[in-house]
């Protein structure tokens, strides 16, 4: 009864207000809003910032889908008939082959270095991760110098009579499937190697001993105990490698092997943008399939390690296998680091004597530095609100923003560039072909790198600190800037360093978007190597590699 009275008392009030502003709808919307955010919505400033980032990040995808939808049925049919089947075969066979090869090489190296008594284990651990700093297009250049049609190997072969007599003329063709397969494998295996090493280091000795007590041999233990534990690590590494192969432009272009990225680039180069968009859409679909496979396997395979009884894994005695293992490890190091770097040093030396380090060279270096520095700065600024939103205000909306931010990362550079040219030329002419256009494209490509680094430090800061700051009257964005940012600064800066290095190495976006008179080191390496002017390509490539070494320690400690 009392309740009834109360509601009756309120009737008049409610209806009065309702006629003016219809609060039921507002209330309803507000309920939904609060529900989305689990009762804790962020302030408008923060949200707006996050949304802006999301929109920038989704420019290329939206454009490519839009453009390919209006490419016309005829063009679609022509491409589906003639080009797409071959491109699919080229791309998928290369991706599969490189992925399998990197898994075998990466896991075996990790196993040898972490679990056996190979001499110099601790040094090998670092040395074998070094190919990470050599961009595959630079690697491709060095292999063209050595094994190309007029390369060192050909000269050696020609001048060695018994080789010619017993095997005939020099027949190695680096511009082939096997050439690109070899180059990509040798410069991407560290992804698998690093992740597998980390997993192997964490493996619990107890399981192996249990298996051994049941009478299994070392090889049986490897297949039945170790490998299942390694499966998630192998999967993660394989995904990284296959995504890389799908998106690589530089190495395939150098070695004239045509995958989707190269085809998109060449279609664009002959200004058939609609066809380029169609091919891009297919490539995006491939990328999505791989990401989907990844999320599927992650859910299925759960292997638990007991933490409380953890014991460090034992180290196997190599015994008579020692020379063989050493030979294997050295051979991989030789072809993936020593040989390419030596070739570059050799040609840089020639180049420097011929005056390659002139004003022009430093101009290119300065361009690289400026564009990469600015991109790193932008990424540090933009990553903050996105990760803050995601971690402190988890919801559907912040989830979508986060996903979109990662979208550009999985997207090949040629597609990002394609979208940017169109959008900026037609809708933002003031920024078209400027320094800023490339910088923003770099943000689209590399923002997730700074997000990951920032997230790692943010997760160490208790939300209680935020709550305390909020309770003292700061709005969310101010909490972020004044309280959280100073505490997570190391992570943010490390993320910036990663973006900086990725931007220095970046090729397709720089190539397609560069303004007149603004070549970067990566672009110069591409052009000079294309013209076979190696004494000018080598110093630039070497400089890129040296700069890339800087954040290597951080990258390695992450695994």
């Amino acid at each position: 009864m009392k309740n009834n009275n109360m509601s009756q008392l309120n009737i008049k009030q409610n209806s009065e207000v309702g006629e003016e502003t219809s609060p039921t709808i507002l209330l309803f919307l507000r309920r939904i809003w609060l529900n989305i955010w689990h009762g804790n919505p962020p302030g408008p400033v923060l949200l707006l910032f996050g949304l802006t980032v999301a929109i920038i990040m989704s420019i290329p995808i939206i454009y490519v889908i839009w453009r390919s939808l209006f490419a016309g049925a005829e063009r679609w049919m022509r491409l589906l008939d003639e080009r797409i089947p071959r491109l699919l075969w080229n791309t998928l066979s290369l991706t599969a082959a490189v992925t399998v090869c990197t898994v075998i090489v990466g896991v075996s190296l990790a196993w040898i270095v972490i679990r056996t008594d190979i001499p110099g284990r601790n040094i090998w651990r670092w040395l074998l991760a070094l190919p990470l700093v050599i961009p595959p297009y630079v690697g491709a250049v060095t292999y063209i110098i050595v094994f190309g049609r007029s390369g060192w190997a050909r000269d050696f072969w020609r001048d060695t009579p018994w080789l010619v007599n017993s095997f005939g003329d020099y027949r190695v063709n680096i511009f082939s499937f096997w050439g690109i397969f070899f180059v990509l494998s040798m410069f991407t295996y560290p992804y698998v190697y690093l992740i597998a090493s980390a997993a192997l280091r964490k493996m619990n000795r107890n399981f192996e001993e249990a298996a051994r007590s049941l009478g299994m041999s070392s090889s049986q233990i490897f297949w039945k105990v170790n490998l299942p534990f390694l499966r998630p690590a192998i999967g993660a590494g394989a995904i990284l490698v296959s995504l890389y192969v799908l998106s690589d432009f530089g190495a395939v272009a150098m070695l004239r092997y045509v995958t989707f990225t190269a085809a998109i680039y060449f279609q664009r180069a002959s200004f058939d943008t609609a066809s380029a968009a169609v091919l891009s859409l297919v490539l995006i679909a491939l990328t999505v399939v791989i990401l989907w496979i990844e999320s599927g396997t992650r859910k299925k395979n759960k292997y638990y390690q007991t933490a409380n009884s953890y014991r460090e894994p034992s180290i196997l005695q190599l015994g008579k296998w020692k020379p063989l293992a050493l030979l294997y490890v050295s051979a991989i190091f030789f072809v993936s680091v020593f040989l390419p770097v030596s070739v570059l040093v050799y040609w840089s030396n020639i180049g420097i004597r011929m005056g390659a380090l002139n004003e022009r060279f430093f101009g290119f270096a300065l361009n690289s530095l400026r564009i990469s520095g600015f991109a790193a700065l932008l990424c540090m600024l933009l990553a903050m609100p996105v990760i803050y939103l995601k971690n402190r205000y988890p919801s559907v909306i912040s989830g979508i923003i986060d996903r979109l931010a990662y979208g550009g990362y999985a997207l090949p550079g040629v597609i990002v560039a394609l979208g940017f040219i169109f959008i900026f030329n037609n809708h933002i002419p003031a920024l078209y072909r400027t320094f800023y256009m490339i910088a923003i494209a770099f943000v689209v490509r590399f923002l997730p790198q700074s997000m990951q680094a920032g997230e790692a430090s943010l997760s160490l800061i208790s939300p209680r600190i935020d709550e305390a700051a909020r309770s003292l009257g700061y709005p969310p964005w101010k909490v972020m800037l004044k309280v959280i940012l100073p505490n997570m600064l190391p992570g943010v800066l490390a993320g910036g360093a990663l973006v900086f290095v990725s931007s220095i190495k970046e090729l397709p976006v720089s190539l397609m978007l560069r303004p007149p008179g603004f070549d970067t080191l990566a672009v110069r390496v591409y052009f000079e190597a294309h013209e076979a002017i190696y004494h000018l390509a080598a110093p630039a490539a070497l400089l890129i590699i040296i700069v890339s070494i800087i954040p290597l320690r951080y990258m390695l400690s992450k695994y």
Binding site: F271, L369, Y436, L493, E531
Partner: protein, 367 residues
């Protein structure tokens, strides 16, 4: 770990300050400034000039550096640009000058209304059939098509002498075979345009089909062909004459010869094309673009335009300088029998030729 964190921070601070500097001067250097209108402005700061070039960078950069040194105007070059980029940017013009290896491309841009007529000082030095009527584009240097061949592998007598000879399937059997460029190469487009003018489309399409089938290698550009022929990877290749001149300068693999096509009685004459410059309509630095044209028309700079390309100069009396190894092989273009089609006609054929090449099965770009 703490140490490495510190070093990262130091690095990042350095990056940060650099980027701030970059944002400051990035704007100045890279957003095209408004065209200098007041004459005072021109006097104080010579400003800049945006040059798009589809010509080999090694030939062009020296010329542009000389222009900067002579006039103080800063040149922002985009090497490897294509004519279609000018089309794409028609509503948002970036370039002032377009330098091309293919007069057909310049003619095409003019046809699309993207070039602008002018009357620069010194224009009368260029013969009227080597510039458009309104001087929107002008040709400076000349190249003719022909075969570069490896003298170790084949004698001059055994070589084909006419484009028509390539119909013969016997060239497919030749040891190491012969090389051609992709269909979208400017030299190839010009060549096909001239054949269409001479033969009509049907026979030309057959010819394209024949060389695609019978050749042993299809390359991105002529530099690769001359190197491959010099090294004996192919016996001969279809290139422009100045690639022969360049191969003569190589320290090794330089035992090559050259055959100008169709020089005999009743034959069509060698297919010639020209390299030149076009004035882009509505470019951001209009006054500097005119200054560039007038500078380029000076005799010494016409010779410099040829530069390292070793092409023939249209005004051969201005004396392009060739290295001693090349000089004996230079043929004044007035002594060559050239095709009937006026070179500036090429622009009218440009687009249909591309379509014909593609339809005949020769890819415009390597795939």
């Amino acid at each position: 770990m703490i140490k490495s964190k510190k070093s990262i921070i130091v690095l990042l601070v350095a990056i940060l300050s650099l980027s701030l500097y970059a944002t400051g001067c990035g704007k100045k250097a890279n957003t095209p400034a408004a065209p200098p209108k007041g004459s005072e402005n021109v006097n104080t700061d010579p400003g800049q000039l945006v040059v798009y070039s589809s010509r080999n960078e090694r030939f062009t950069q020296e010329l542009l550096d000389k222009f900067s040194a002579d006039t103080g105007i800063k040149v922002l070059p985009l090497h490897g640009a294509k004519e279609l980029q000018i089309v794409e940017e028609a509503r948002n013009v970036q370039a002032d000058i377009f330098i091309s290896n293919d007069l057909g491309a310049l003619g095409y841009l003019h046809l699309e209304g993207l070039l602008q007529g002018a009357n620069p000082k010194g224009i009368e030095t260029i013969p009227a059939n080597f510039r458009s009527d309104d001087n929107a584009y002008i040709a400076i240097s000349l190249r003719a098509r022909g075969f570069i061949y490896n003298k170790d592998l084949i004698t001059e007598k055994e070589m084909p002498r006419s484009a028509e000879d390539l119909f013969d399937p016997k060239w497919a059997q030749l040891k190491n075979g012969y090389a051609i460029t992709r269909g979208g190469n400017g030299g190839m487009i010009g060549h096909v345009s001239a054949l269409r003018y001479e033969w009509g489309d049907a026979k030309t399409a057959e010819w394209i089909d024949a060389i695609r089938k019978n050749s042993a290698g299809i390359y991105q550009g002529h530099s690769e062909i001359r190197k491959a022929v010099g090294a004996g990877e192919h016996t001969f290749g279809l290139v422009n004459n100045y690639y022969f001149h360049q191969q003569l300068l190589e320290p090794t693999n330089n035992n090559v010869g050259f055959i100008y096509l169709d020089q005999g009685q009743g034959q069509m004459g060698a297919v010639a094309n020209a390299a030149g410059v076009g004035l882009v309509k509505g470019g951001p630095n209009g006054a500097n673009a005119i200054a560039f044209l007038e500078w380029l028309l000076l005799p010494e700079n016409q010779a410099a335009f040829v530069g390292a390309s070793l092409e023939l100069l249209i005004n051969s009396q201005f004396g392009a300088v060739y290295p001693p190894a090349v000089q004996p092989h230079i043929i004044d273009f007035k002594d060559l029998k050239l095709q009937n089609m006026p070179i500036k006609e090429l622009g009218n054929y440009f687009q249909d030729t591309r379509a014909l090449i593609e339809a005949s099965g020769l890819d415009l770009d390597l795939k």
